[in-house]
């Protein structure tokens, strides 16, 4: 019985996260260098999130940028708390970078599947 109560409490209090994937578009401004584009995006995104929603929410959202080797360098995965996903998505949209916001997932595994689905449109992205 004690174990059951403990499990219920654990489930209720467990921090839930969401994973948002972003496709960074290569840009002539940064000589198509994806590293420079990435640095510019992160700076712009962080300042937007902090500027629009304040530093308290910025830190509460516990943002982490995750790199996955199997994915092209254009893809950036942002992990954040479920409660702040709306703020994060809005800050991403208003970040001063050419990018596409791909669907949000609760697990990296599911997100990878969606990214592979998105990669079918590779030719369109080059145009």
């Amino acid at each position: 019985m004690k174990n059951k109560v403990f499990l219920v409490i654990m489930t209720v209090t467990k921090k839930k996260f969401r994973y948002a994937c972003i496709y960074l578009q290569k840009d002539n401004t940064y000589q198509n260098d994806i590293k420079l584009i990435y640095i510019h995006f992160t700076k712009s995104f962080y300042s937007r999130l902090e500027g629009l929603f304040g530093s308290i929410d910025f830190h509460k959202s516990t943002i982490k940028i995750i790199h996955i080797d199997s994915l092209p360098s254009n893809f950036v995965i942002i992990k954040c708390r479920l409660e702040y996903i709306d703020d994060v998505l809005m800050a991403i949209y208003f970040a001063n970078s050419p990018l596409l916001i791909l669907p949000v997932s609760g697990t990296i595994k599911q997100l990878k599947k969606r990214i592979h689905g998105f990669l079918e449109y590779k030719e369109f992205l080059k145009s």
Binding site: R48, L52, Y93, F94, L125
Partner: protein, 175 residues
């Protein structure tokens, strides 16, 4: 599905540019076949000059909110579509963006008061400026508008305009 307008197609003179939607819809069969786009709507830009005549216009894209209240008062009850483009504010600094969110709520209330249709649009000129429905709904909610209410009002407003079958030419004549 989203649509964006290539910057190359946009003419520098806004008066010549107003017929773009009509031309675009006429030349794209996949849109023509869609019932939602049966009627062609005319559009123009508002840059703060209240003296201009917009009686033949269905959708007015707002580039400056100066004199917006006078404009809405002047065209009260004409069911004029007041459109704001997200691409215009995408690169604002944080302070201006916050002010825009505050102003837009006030304008939304004014639109309701003077019976104008409030429209928010991506204004995308490239595919990476397109806005997903999820982000769009987040922006609507952040403004302080209920998303269900917004979409319902938009559908009702567009349905009322259906059957107009008009396009806009550079001489400002509705044909």
């Amino acid at each position: 599905m989203g649509l964006y307008i290539s910057k190359d197609l946009i003419k520098t003179n806004p008066k010549e540019n107003v017929s773009f939607r009509s031309t675009f819809y006429q030349t794209n069969d996949f849109i023509k076949g869609d019932n939602g786009f049966k009627s062609l709507l005319s559009s123009s830009f508002f840059t703060g000059n209240i003296g201009e005549n917009y009686y033949n216009i269905d959708i007015l894209t707002i580039k400056s909110i100066t004199n917006i209240k006078s404009l809405l008062k002047k065209y009260a009850g004409k069911n004029l579509g007041i459109e704001f483009l997200l691409s215009d504010i995408k690169y604002y600094d944080n302070n201006s963006l916050g002010k825009w969110f505050s102003d837009i709520k006030w304008i939304y209330e004014l639109c309701k008061k003077y019976n104008a249709q409030f429209i928010l649009s991506s204004g995308a000129c490239s595919y990476y400026e397109l806005v997903s429905l999820r982000v769009f709904n987040i922006i609507i909610e952040k403004i302080g508008i209920q998303k269900k209410k917004y979409w319902l009002e938009l559908i009702t407003g567009l349905n009322e305009k259906q059957g107009i079958f008009s396009y806009y030419d550079s001489d400002k004549k509705k044909v």
